[in-house]
């Protein structure tokens, strides 16, 4: 029994993106890792090929495709020799643009969505700040109403697509509202708006292809019509969309684990002269394969539940923390199996091992996931 209903069309799409990745992405990944960014031209290319924002309506230049297309794109790009080939585009496709699609005014949707689909606009979501990581309610960036405008003041850190972005979905608080849960609103800020500066690219120990940056807002004036959704409802909008964000994060982790396992099994089978085979290694590989199988079964069930619009806060939180920890475990054991060849940076697993370090931290730390589950279980 298959959990997800992939049709022939879905499978054709998957094959198409796999070919694209093999021909156009993999030959360039090493360079992107050195330069620590994916070039904008690749975003356009993905847009041309129909790999961006598959779920957007044809009314806005999209293809009206179902959520399984988001999943296929996320899975395949995450296996393109680097997880962050998947992270940047699927954050745009399946995490940020859905906010605009669901909550933004018709005017904003017409203005921005077509170019989000084509890759002319790359989006970023700016929530985290130096003093507000896990504690989203502690956000200090302010948005002060001033007639037809809003003036933004503050800074954001660790922003995915921060250097490439043309459009930022920003969370900021109204300083006049005391209750932090009612003070947050979401706004769209375009690159080039006076008062909005991109800071330096943050050099990370892994996920090099992903351009992560600081963003600064100083007396940045935007039209009030750039507000997304209702004023003061920022927190609730974030909570609503977090289920999909954490699902996508689980897909990254799961895809990474599957990629690493495949590479390790291949290495093990092809290098019988080089490595010392042993029962202990066999069992380690078996345990990795079991973890991956169980994880995939759980994740596919959650994808289906999400498609059916079920509220699965507990399960998604479990999935986010479990898949990211499992993927790290698999990558860690894999390096042990590669033995001395592991710590050559050319080893296909090393990049994933470094990249996966971040997965238990972003999109909600794994400790926060456990807290959410504890609360839902009334513990």
């Amino acid at each position: 029994m298959e959990i997800l209903n992939y049709s022939v069309k879905h499978e054709k799409f998957r094959k198409r993106i796999q070919s694209f990745i093999a021909e156009e992405i993999i030959p360039q990944v090493d360079e992107w890792e050195i330069n620590r960014i994916m070039p904008r031209s690749m975003w356009r290319r993905m847009g041309d090929k129909g790999f961006l924002c598959p779920g957007i309506s044809s009314e806005y230049g999209g293809k009206d495709q179902d959520f399984l297309y988001d999943i296929i794109i996320t899975e395949e790009l995450s296996k393109a020799d680097s997880i962050c080939v998947g992270v940047g585009p699927s954050t745009h496709n399946s995490i940020i643009v859905p906010y605009i699609n669901t909550f933004a005014s018709e005017e904003l949707k017409e203005k921005f969505l077509p170019r989000c689909v084509s890759g002319e606009i790359i989006t970023a979501i700016a929530i985290s700040e130096p003093n507000a990581g896990s504690d989203v309610a502690a956000i200090e960036t302010t948005a002060v109403n001033d007639g037809d405008s809003v003036i933004i003041e503050g800074s954001k850190i660790f922003i995915t697509n921060g250097i490439n972005c043309d459009l930022v979905l920003l969370a900021a608080r109204n300083p006049a509202v005391e209750n932090p849960y009612k003070a947050l609103s979401l706004y769209l800020v375009e690159t080039g708006t006076p008062g909005f500066e991109k800071g330096k690219k943050l050099n990370k120990m892994g996920m090099h292809t992903q351009d992560t940056a600081e963003l600064f807002f100083s007396k940045c004036r935007i039209p009030k019509s750039n507000m997304v959704g209702e004023e003061g409802k920022g927190f609730y909008m974030l909570m609503e969309k977090l289920q999909q964000e954490r699902l996508i994060t689980s897909v990254w982790a799961m895809s990474a684990a599957e990629y690493v396992l495949d590479k390790t099994l291949l290495y093990y089978q092809e290098n019988s002269e080089k490595i010392q085979k042993s029962q202990a290694k066999q069992f380690a590989l078996v345990e990795m394969a079991t973890d991956v199988k169980i994880g995939r079964t759980f994740l596919d069930k959650l994808i289906q539940d999400h498609i059916e619009r079920k509220k699965i806060v507990v399960e998604i939180s479990m999935s986010k923390y479990w898949t990211s920890e499992m993927a790290r475990r698999v990558a860690n054991y894999s390096l042990d199996l590669f033995e001395e060849n592991a710590f050559l940076e050319k080893c296909p697993v090393v990049r994933y091992w470094q990249d996966l370090r971040g997965m238990s931290i972003f999109a909600g730390t794994n400790e926060i996931m456990r807290k959410i589950i504890a609360k839902e279980l009334n513990l």
Partner: protein
């Protein structure tokens, strides 16, 4: 058994710590990692402090110190991730040459090592390729000399070393012979292996490299036995380096958790984070004991193959576990290159895998307990 260091060793430890506080920083590490990973200026300074001659007899310009003494220095180096060929030169090179080389080599090289004027590296892995039926580094008799052909992998600091002690094999089925090769010899070239360790490793290529018979260390065919005698020191020194790093990582993490606030309180106020630190402290303590048990036995000349294997297996896993835990405790900032923690995380993984990973050393422990693999 008393693993406590004596008064003199305590002074030594303090002076090493002061030296690194004054001379070393992670900004320097970042520069060095870009430039090739070695500071000759600092190498000379540690020579002046006498650290390079610890395992060399006074007769040859050293200090006739004990293995425990050198552990003091290695632990401080591991603590601050100081990249240099100390393990290769002052531990491996000094031990092998002192115990196994003939007098002329000892007179020439040991004082130079102690002074910081001769850097030694090594390559013991002859790795036999079963399908090609050949060893990685081969030796052939050529008149009065030998010709070395092939390659050696993971040679530490080859680009800045003066000599290499390498094991080569002939077709006799013997366990190889150790050669002392001048790295300026014709036919030698090296290529840096990109790695995530703070240390620099190279692939060394040998093309008809001529070595005289006098440069064989010990006797022909005795290579593996000599390496076996030296390995416990190499492995234990590596464990000591890991203990130093483990100690520092715990220190950094406890400090961070006291300072970083979210939800209006320091992260250290959360029980889960406290338990995380407790687990790290337990790992540190266990690693220290298991490592220094091996180090003490080595110092006393007590056979300790099982102790060394347990130390390497356990400490390697513990260092990796603790750095992973520390990274998680630090959240996003730990993932940035600006913060120093990622260097420890990567160094921990590389030391866990170098010189045999957990599985390899568990095999050794099992063998010492009387078990043999299928």
């Amino acid at each position: 058994m008393d693993f406590n260091i004596n008064k003199e060793q305590k002074m030594y430890k303090n002076s090493a710590r002061t030296f690194f506080k004054k001379e070393w920083s992670f900004d320097l590490l970042r520069e060095l990692v870009e430039e090739g990973g070695f500071s000759r200026k600092l190498w000379k300074k540690i020579a002046e402090l006498g650290w390079l001659g610890l395992l060399i007899d006074e007769e040859y310009g050293g200090f006739s110190a004990s293995f425990m003494d050198i552990c003091i220095i290695m632990e401080e180096m591991g603590r601050c991730l100081f990249p240099c060929p100390y393990l290769a030169t002052a531990v491996v090179g000094a031990s092998i040459l002192s115990k196994e080389a003939d007098d002329s080599i000892k007179k020439k090289l040991l004082p130079a090592i102690a002074d910081g004027n001769a850097i030694i590296t090594y390559a013991f892995d002859g790795a036999y390729n079963r399908s090609k039926k050949k060893y990685r580094l081969k030796m052939n008799k050529h008149g009065d000399e030998f010709l070395l052909n092939g390659s050696a992998m993971f040679v530490p600091y080859a680009a800045i070393s003066d000599y290499i002690i390498c094991r080569a094999f002939d077709d006799s089925g013997s366990s190889g012979s150790l050669f002392l090769v001048d790295l300026k010899a014709n036919g030698l070239s090296c290529e840096k292996i990109p790695s995530f360790s703070v240390d620099s490793y190279y692939k060394l290529f040998f093309e008809n490299v001529r070595v005289s018979a006098e440069k064989i260390i010990g006797d022909i065919g005795q290579g593996s036995k000599i390496v076996e005698r030296m390995m416990p020191k190499l492995l234990t020194a590596c464990c000591v380096e890991m203990v130093g790093g483990l100690d520092r990582v715990l220190e950094i993490t406890v400090q961070y958790l006291k300072e970083r606030k979210q939800f209006n309180k320091p992260l250290g106020a959360l029980q889960v984070m406290q338990h995380k630190c407790a687990d790290m402290a337990i790992d540190l303590s266990a690693s220290k004991f298991i490592t220094y048990q091996a180090a003490w036995k080595l110092s006393e000349g007590i056979p300790c193959i099982k102790d060394v294997a347990m130390a390497k297996a356990y400490t390697g896993d513990a260092y990796q576990r603790v750095t992973a835990s520390a990274m998680q405790a630090h959240g996003a900032i730990g993932f940035t290159e600006e913060y120093d923690l990622h260097y420890y995380y990567k160094q921990a993984k590389s030391l866990q895998l170098m010189y045999g990973g957990g599985s390899w050393h568990r095999n050794v422990v099992a063998r010492e307990m009387g078990y043999y693999s299928d």
